[in-house]
């Protein structure tokens, strides 16, 4: 795809990718300092997918996300102040400190939830698409899932249901070629996961997930198609994660990828290649990109500052939010 892009769009795609990257770098730093409790799965290297896809959506389009979800949330318009507050377990975090990294949900901007269970978000997305169909709305649902998730049974069940019911859902497979240590060369006998769409009776396509424009343009086109034809679509984006599976993976020394391989994909960095391209094409100036970098860095510092100054919840808040309709006596606490 070689469509011309406007300067506004180029700068926006660039800004979002840098925001995703710097956000994750800060998160990793805070996890390593134990300021963020637990561990997180960083999205570094895969920014073009979330940014390309979500930039082609409307605010009321819905997404389901994964354990590696920060990039999806940011790209869909998540406020990083409330994300950092969540990651620091604060009361004004997007989920009041109850969910943390793997469970960020923000229905106001169409985020039905990240997920700690691989593959579990895919049928949830199909259910949301069913609502859209039954209520005759015109938004669409995006379900992000990994190459690893593609082998989970519910994912197949969900895709088939989406197909027989003609639902407006786009399954976006982020094929970063590994599920923890397991290479797709081992876990799949086919070259492209998108091939599976044929078996369910809808269309699929595999694209370069390191190229934000390619992801953006394809998503635009597919969203239009899905909206008008009410048919699901399977979009596979080939990508790569630069970091370990989770923050502390390094200390495990699993060595399932070679340095050469990692460096090869680093040389195809989605941010660097995009900025090089828009500079070469004369779409913007170096100064404009530098300004964005600085803006993002400031925004992150402010957000972390905001989170640090936020209040922690009361320990007993742990018993709240369990039910939409409360009854006395439940949930029980663990002692009397």
């Amino acid at each position: 795809m070689t469509e011309k892009i406007t300067k506004n769009l180029a700068l926006e795609l660039y800004r979002k990718m840098v925001l995703c990257r710097k956000f994750e770098e800060k998160v990793a730093e805070l996890v390593n300092k134990n300021e963020i409790y637990g561990t997180t799965h960083e999205y570094v290297g895969e920014e073009a997918v979330a940014v390309g896809v979500c930039s082609a959506l409307r605010n009321n389009d819905l997404i389901t996300s994964t354990h590696r979800g920060h990039g999806h949330i940011i790209s869909k318009g998540g406020d990083i102040r409330y994300m950092f507050a969540e990651l620091l377990g604060r009361v004004n975090g997007c989920n009041k400190g109850k969910g943390g990294s793997m469970h960020i949900a923000d229905p106001g901007i169409g985020i039905l939830g990240a997920n700690g269970i691989v593959g579990a978000g895919v049928p949830i997305a199909v259910g949301a698409a069913l609502t859209i169909k039954i209520k005759k709305m015109d938004n669409v649902v995006i379900s992000f899932f990994g190459d690893g998730a593609s082998n989970q049974g519910v994912v197949h069940e969900a895709m088939n249901m989406a197909s027989i019911w003609n639902l407006p859902v786009i399954f976006v497979c982020e094929n970063n070629q590994y599920a923890v240590s397991t290479s797709v060369k081992y876990s799949l006998k086919i070259e492209n996961i998108s091939e599976r769409s044929k078996a369910y009776g809808f269309e699929g396509k595999t694209i370069d997930g390191m190229d934000v424009l390619e992801v953006y343009n394809n998503t635009k086109e597919i969203v239009n198609k899905v909206r008008s034809e009410n048919k699901p679509f399977l979009l596979e984006c080939k990508t790569y994660r630069y970091s370990g599976h989770f923050t502390a993976e390094k200390i495990l020394n699993l060595n399932y990828r070679t340095e050469d391989e990692i460096n090869y994909y680093k040389s195809k960095c989605p941010i660097l290649s995009f900025s090089t391209k828009i500079l070469n094409d004369g779409i913007c100036t170096k100064k404009e990109l530098d300004d964005i970098d600085n803006l993002v860095i400031n925004q992150i510092d402010e957000a972390v500052d905001f989170a640090r100054k936020s209040k922690s919840p009361e320990p007993s808040d742990a018993l709240k939010d369990m039910y939409a309709t409360e009854y006395t006596g439940i949930p029980q606490k663990g002692w009397i």
Binding site: I36, G89, M102, A179, V180, S181, P313, S316, A318, W335
Partner: protein
């Protein structure tokens, strides 16, 4: 005897069993590179036919384990963390666990579910912190939860050699503890509990990583003149009732200290059988210290609010005197 890590004891038990018995195979996600550390290096020794990585397909791999067990292998399935058994629920409780009974005793499924880390490890929130053994107990599945490296090795060997499905829960907070473990292979029979410390005033029934906390608490309370007996069932099903009742009849006071949910949890079952069988010996009501009936929250203070810990144990013990 050597002082080794719990994780190492588990690894050794499995390794030795695989050496002794060529029918023992390990199947799971990331077992070749060994994300969990139990099967580190196994692939080089036993090869890809016996150290089998699966795609992320828990329902499928659990069924595969059952089929392999029915037909002559003795598979050990590794689940990286305990929530991953949820996808496999039908295969666990409706297939593997029921087949023998429904076949009138004709089918045999010697499969071991090695739940490589169970419980809350800090900051992993709602979907990576459960301790879901009560679901399996409820379905009648043999279940063990070793609290020490010694118990871990002996119980895992018994689980693998047992001709029924056995779930082995390894508490995530025990994996990094150390203890004395013999080099040679040995077994601890299923269904045999252990008094981990003798006492005369109160019995604390404790499970998994809470055994260590109960022992520390017992030591601390010694100086205030309270003598705590610590009972570790080790096997949750079949439960060593005899040893339990003996302890309860001696002390007349019981606290069940268990890190699973409260409603219909393991502690509920233990409390019920004690009040059925030992009622006249009791000097005070049986008390439970369990998790709250909520998913584990992310924030650290909320997390410790809902989990059983030493502070809560001491408070409840003191209340009973």
């Amino acid at each position: 005897m050597r002082n080794i890590y719990y994780l190492k004891a588990v690894s050794e038990a499995l390794f030795n069993e695989m050496e002794i018995n060529p029918d023992v195979v390990v199947i799971g996600e990331d077992v070749r590179y060994s994300l969990r550390g139990i099967t580190k290096g196994f692939i080089d020794i036993f090869g890809p036919d016996r150290v089998i990585d699966t795609p992320i397909s828990e329902a499928g791999l659990t069924g595969v384990g059952t089929g392999a067990a029915l037909s002559g292998l003795r598979p050990v399935l590794e689940f990286q963390i305990c929530e991953f058994i949820f996808f496999a629920f039908d295969q666990l409780v409706d297939q593997a666990q029921k087949l023998r009974y429904m076949s009138g005793g004709k089918l045999k499924a010697p499969v071991t579910y090695l739940i490589a880390s169970s419980g809350a490890r800090g900051g992993m929130a709602g979907q990576h912190s459960d301790n879901p053994y009560p679901y399996l107990l409820h379905s009648g599945m043999k279940t063990v939860m070793p609290s020490t490296p010694y118990d871990a090795k002996g119980l895992l060997v018994s689980a693998i050699r047992d001709d029924d499905p056995v779930a082995v829960f390894l508490p995530v907070n025990s994996l990094g503890t150390k203890g004395d473990v013999p080099e040679e292979q040995y077994t601890i029979p299923l269904g045999k509990g252990e008094i981990k410390k003798e006492g005369k005033d109160i019995t604390v029934v404790s499970t998994g990583h809470l055994v260590k906390i109960a022992l520390e608490t017992a030591e601390e309370l010694e100086s205030s003149g309270i003598s705590v007996e610590v009972y570790d069932p080790r096997t949750l099903l079949p439960l060593d009732r005899e040893l339990l009742f003996k302890s309860v009849k001696k002390t007349g006071r019981v606290i069940v200290f268990d890190d699973s949910n409260r409603t219909c949890g393991f502690a509920a079952e233990v409390s019920a059988i004690i009040s059925e069988e030992c009622f006249t010996y009791l000097k005070s009501p049986v008390r439970r210290i369990t998790r709250a009936d909520v998913p584990i929250p992310f924030n650290a203070q909320m997390e410790s609010f809902v989990l059983p810990d030493k502070e809560k144990l001491i408070k409840v013990i003191l209340k009973n005197f």
